[in-house]
C-alpha cells in the first residue's frame, strides 16, 4: 500500500546513503577476488595432484647413455628393463629430444642446440591407477644401475605447491574475515550516525508508540537495500575482473597458472557473498539500533 511505502526515518537522503553502497561494493569486490583465488588455487592443486600422483620421472646423466649403436646395454637400457619388470608400471617412455627441447626453449631460447648441451635423458613413468608402487625400493634399484640417476616422484614439489596453496587460502580467508569485520564496523558506525542525525524523528516515533524493534526495522530495511545493491555491484566488478584476467592469461605462456574459469560451485559461493554481506549488515544494524536505544531513558 502506497501510504506505508515510505520509510519514516529518511535515511536515504543522508550522505551515508550515497557512499555506503560503494563501500560495500569495494568490500565485496575484494572478498570475491580473495575467494576466487582460493577456490582456483585449491582446484589447481587437485588437478596437479591427480596428474602427478601416478607418475615419476627418472633422469639419467648423459655420459652414462652412449650411442645407440653400441651392442652392450647401457644404463638407460638397464633402467628400462628394470621398470618393465616392476609391478604396476603401465608405461615407461623415454622422452624424445624434440620434446625436451620444447620444454627447455622458454629458458634457453630457440638458438640453443641440445646436441651441445649435457641434457639428461628423461624417462617418464606412468603407473596403473590402482598400483601402490614402492618408490623407495625402485629408487634404490635405479641407484644400483646408475648412481647419478635422479628419481623424481614429484612429492617434494607437490608438497611445496600444497604449502603455497594453503598459504594463499589462509590469506584469502583472513582477507574475507577482515572484510566482514570492516563491514560490521562501517554499518555499526553508519547506523549510530543515522540514529543521532535523525534523533528527533526517532524520538517522535517513540513518543507516538513505536517499539525499538520498529525503529530497528527502519534501519534494517535501509541497510539491506544498500548492502544488496553494493554487493551486486562489487560481485559484477569482481566477475568482470576475473574474466579480463582470464583473457589476458590465455594469451601468455603461463602454463603453470591455473585456469581462471569459474565452476558452478564457485558461482554459488560468489553469489552467496553479497547475500551474506547483506545479512551481516542487516543484523549489525538491528543489533546496533536495539543496543543504542536500550541505553536511552
Amino acid at each position: 500500500m502506497m501510504l506505508f511505502a515510505r520509510r519514516d526515518v529518511p535515511l536515504d537522503s543522508d550522505a551515508s546513503g550515497r557512499f555506503l553502497p560503494w563501500l560495500v561494493a569495494i568490500m565485496v569486490y575484494l572478498a570475491a577476488l580473495a575467494l576466487i583465488s582460493a577456490l582456483t588455487m585449491s582446484r589447481a592443486i587437485g588437478h596437479w595432484q591427480e596428474g602427478l600422483s601416478g607418475t615419476l620421472t627418472i633422469q639419467i646423466p648423459p655420459d652414462q647413455v652412449v650411442a645407440k649403436a653400441k651392442s652392450a646395454p647401457d644404463a638407460l637400457d638397464r633402467v628400462l628393463d628394470l621398470l618393465i619388470a616392476t609391478p604396476g608400471v603401465r608405461e615407461a617412455k623415454v622422452m624424445e629430444p624434440e620434446e625436451i627441447e620444447r620444454l627447455l626453449r622458454p629458458w634457453l631460447g630457440a638458438a640453443a642446440s641440445l646436441a651441445e648441451l649435457p641434457v639428461p635423458v628423461l624417462i617418464s613413468v606412468t603407473f596403473n591407477p590402482a598400483a601402490e608402487p614402492d618408490f623407495a625400493a625402485l629408487a634404490r634399484a635405479v641407484a644400483k644401475i646408475s648412481p647419478d640417476a635422479v628419481v623424481d616422484t614429484h612429492q617434494a614439489w607437490l608438497g611445496k605447491v600444497r604449502d603455497l596453496a594453503r598459504t594463499v587460502q589462509g590469506i584469502a580467508i583472513l582477507v574475507v574475515v577482515l572484510i566482514a569485520g570492516c563491514a560490521v564496523m562501517i554499518v555499526a558506525f553508519a547506523t549510530r550516525m543515522g540514529l543521532s542525525v535523525h534523533g528527533h524523528v526517532i524520538e517522535l516515533l517513540h513518543l507516538i508508540g513505536a517499539r525499538d524493534s520498529y525503529v530497528a526495522s527502519q534501519f534494517q530495511a535501509h541497510v539491506l537495500s544498500f548492502a544488496l545493491r553494493g554487493g551486486m555491484i562489487g560481485l559484477l566488478l569482481a566477475v568482470g575482473t576475473v574474466f579480463l584476467a582470464g583473457e589476458v592469461l590465455k594469451g601468455s605462456e603461463a602454463m603453470v597458472l591455473p585456469e581462471l574459469a569459474l565452476q558452478p560451485l564457485d558461482w554459488s559461493v560468489l553469489l552467496l557473498l553479497p547475500v551474506a554481506v547483506a545479512l551481516v549488515a542487516t543484523l549489525t544494524a538491528r543489533f546496533t539500533v536495539l543496543r543504542t536505544l536500550a541505553r536511552m531513558p
Binding site: M1, L3, F4, R6, D8, P10, S13, H200, V201, E203, L204, L205, H206, L207, I208, G209, A210, R211, D212, Y214, L293, A294, P297
Partner: protein, 193 residues
C-alpha cells in the same frame, strides 16, 4: 493547565506523555505506575496517549496524510481502511485539500491541525496538547478548543497547557495552575456562561 512561562507546564506534560521520568515521586496513568514500566510497556502505553506538541513535530519528508497515518502504521494497522479513515479525519480538521502536501508548505495553523489529527487518529484515551493555541490567532484558537471539547464529549480525557488566561476564562473546565513550584486546582464554577 496554566502557569507563567517557565512554571513547568511543558515539563509536567512531558512526564505525563512519558517523554521524561520524574526524578522523584511517582506518576500513575491507566492504573499503572509509569515509572516502573519497561520499554515495550512504555511503547504500548504511549499508544493510548495522543500528543499535540508545541512545535508540532511533523515529519517534513512525509505528506500530511502519511504523517497522520503514522501512529496507525506503528501500531500495525496497514489495511486499505486506514487511508479512508485518515482522509476523513483530515477533512474533519479542514485539510481535505492538503492530503498530499508536505508540512513545510503548510501554514502554522494547518500544521497545527495536522498535528492534532495525528494526535487523535489512534483514538487515544488521553490527549495532551502543549500550547496548542500558541501559534495561531485567537479566532483559530477558539475553534481548536471547541474541537477539543467535541473530543472530550466523545470520551477522551484532555489536558491542555496554555498561558493564555483569557482562553482559560472562556471555557468552563477544571484548571490546574502551576504557581511557585506548587499545584492549585480550580473546579469549574457552576452556572457560568
Amino acid at each position: 493547565m496554566t502557569g507563567a512561562s517557565g512554571a513547568g507546564k511543558s515539563s509536567l506534560l512531558s512526564m505525563i506523555y512519558l517523554a521524561r521520568k520524574p526524578s522523584a515521586g511517582r506518576i500513575r496513568l491507566f492504573e499503572r505506575d509509569v515509572t516502573t514500566l519497561s520499554r515495550p510497556e512504555t511503547a504500548m502505553m504511549r499508544r493510548k496517549i495522543g500528543v499535540v506538541f508545541q512545535d508540532f513535530r511533523l515529519l517534513d519528508h512525509l505528506t500530511a496524510l502519511e504523517n497522520v497515518a503514522l501512529p496507525l502504521k506503528i501500531s500495525g494497522q496497514r489495511d486499505e481502511k486506514v487511508r479512508r479513515h485518515v482522509a476523513e479525519l483530515l477533512a474533519w480538521v479542514g485539510l481535505s485539500e492538503h492530503l498530499d502536501s508536505y508540512p513545510p508548505t503548510l501554514s502554522g495553523g494547518q500544521k497545527q491541525r495536522v498535528a492534532i489529527a495525528r494526535a487523535v487518529v489512534g483514538r487515544p484515551s488521553l490527549l495532551i496538547a502543549d500550547e496548542p493555541t500558541g501559534n495561531v490567532d485567537d479566532r483559530m484558537a477558539v475553534r481548536l478548543l471547541y474541537l477539543f471539547e467535541e473530543l472530550n464529549k466523545l470520551g477522551t480525557t484532555i489536558v491542555i497547557a496554555t498561558h493564555n488566561e483569557s482562553l482559560v476564562a472562556r471555557f468552563d473546565h477544571p484548571v490546574v495552575r502551576l504557581v511557585d513550584g506548587g499545584v492549585r486546582v480550580d473546579r469549574p464554577r457552576k452556572g457560568r456562561a
